[in-house]
Symmetry: C2
Subunit: 387 residues, 2 copies
Amino acid sequence: MSNGERNTKIESIQNILIDKHIDACIISSSVNQFWLCGFIFDGYIYIQPKDPAILFVKRPFNLKDDRVVFLRKQEQIPELLQKMKHTLPSRLMMETDYLSYNATVRLQRALKIDEIVNVSSDLRNLRMIKTSEELAQIKMSAEVHTEVYKKIPSLYKTRMTDLELQIEIEREMRLHGSIGIFRSFGENMDIFMGSILAGDNAQAASPFDYALGGEGITPILPLGANGTILKSDTTIMIDMAGNYRPYMDDMSRTFAIEQAPDIAYFAHEISITIHNTIKAFAKPGTPCSDIYNTALEIVKENNLEAYFMGTDQQAKFIGHGVGLEINEPPVFTPRSKETLEAGMTIALEPKFVLPGIGPVGIENTYIVNENGLENITLCEEELITLK
Amino acid sequence: MSNGERNTKIESIQNILIDKHIDACIISSSVNQFWLCGFIFDGYIYIQPKDPAILFVKRPFNLKDDRVVFLRKQEQIPELLQKMKHTLPSRLMMETDYLSYNATVRLQRALKIDEIVNVSSDLRNLRMIKTSEELAQIKMSAEVHTEVYKKIPSLYKTRMTDLELQIEIEREMRLHGSIGIFRSFGENMDIFMGSILAGDNAQAASPFDYALGGEGITPILPLGANGTILKSDTTIMIDMAGNYRPYMDDMSRTFAIEQAPDIAYFAHEISITIHNTIKAFAKPGTPCSDIYNTALEIVKENNLEAYFMGTDQQAKFIGHGVGLEINEPPVFTPRSKETLEAGMTIALEPKFVLPGIGPVGIENTYIVNENGLENITLCEEELITLK
């Protein structure tokens, strides 16, 4: 990360502290540390309205950065601040969406703070608008993502299971530089490397907050592939992680096993139509709710409402921001309050689940430019046949 | 899970509520839900000192269990409790080590609670003693783990990198039923599928709280394999996840690339000696600190202190409990307060990092039986040569 980008990011937090009359802010989550520094550590970024940021570091012992102050435990922070002639804070911002209750209270007590204010929602809003360096990473991730998806037809073997195909895709992902770990925000977001759904497993309701569900292979992770044998006249949707760089893209593609019924082709084309319709009007200033509602209108016109985003349990969104986490703001629901802004990176995933057949539709990642949406997931969109 | 096991677990929490004069307890983390129910859901297990547990469920919509009460949001809990003629709680236990600060406070406000008390440490202590069903799962996981490790020599190719070998092992793991996701407790515990360390990469200090570090392949996950080419006269340590069942085992084995210097064989044998020495005396009642100190004594006698559990940054423990999370209590440090109890499952990992060569040593998982330690990771312990 350039020094310029680093300073701009610190200043954006300092402006929040000034606006809200808050004395300091402490950042310790790995995504927000990485966003601010370009590296992560066991410790705390301490930001005050005016002074340079301080990195209080426990581990690694050899972290090289001229802002580092080493410490053993957070209880030393007040003493270290006093030595450095800083006033102790009385109002403090913390990442209360990320930190556990106990970790938050321990820090609060260590710094003898009465009032803590959440900074994680501000940080998620700041991270929503990507820098040019971040956009370059997301584009590179999408290019590799496409290379991996192009290999899928060669990985398919007759009568294999969804899981067997997923395992071969996971291997290709890793050989292409996937970092493995797949970061998401919030509770109910467990996942491993992405989701593959074949046939009626796409109808299985899950406890997680993803667009679609799936039974999974274990009751401790009921999501995604469940060992379904890939059968002719069914479909399989591949929604594996675009985690080839710390900043990620998101992309789904659907395949027909041997062949698929006409309704699968029809509904798949409607998903592509929704993408194209949104792409034709969306630009900075467009309300995110308009994007959801446009999609829903097309779905209704085509009498596909019963299959839209699931069957019995339907997701109430068709897209989300993407970056260091797979679910960043904005979110595209009927009641979204956000509007599109230049620099956002958004994944749109209007999908259908057809009983007896499987899931269809595509997911693309778009960069919001001044003129409109730029699709960066440039990968065949039609229903491809595996045979 | 049998009904008997389920009831015993609920009762163990009810006894804590009675002992501590607390009105109710809410469980929503997936590990503790799974431990108590054998499945997970988006929602809350509500336990009172006497009445049967209630499952307040948001998703999935079709969860089948006669204790289920569906709800849309946690703010409905008081109203639902009143309808069911339950008294509203005034003192409540919550999983404050697992839940974010904001999630905790939202629940606290929803239930209008003044005082919340941590239940997550009690639950970690309860989970420390495994049931016979849990022990059976851990043993099965260890058996599959051994099958996968036996394949390692056949996966090795001359001049491959640590990462290339890891990717082939990951594939074998998944083909053998690894569930992928690797659960750990606490902050600074990010990891993907385990750790492989070759040569001097084992000396790289990491921000994470694992036994050894490694540079990793990305600054957002600085841990493990870094693309080191496997070279003759160096070693590679395989410490991949034993996540073949929800209840896990933990095992590390070390390999010599083509051949290894005598000191590698010597230090590796000391690791095995430490295991055998501990196995000869440890039993229910043994202080966990004695186990650490016995190991350290042997290390000192053999002048290997400078290489024990790292070089520049050395871990201060040689083992930990294992179960639904990879780092459960007890932990084996010089200052551990716990003593061994029958039903514990512990992983011991006395390891050395030899500059210019690499890591050596083994990690085994033991069940603590009435008579002593039972090794369940029955896999060749000697330094195996890859060629």
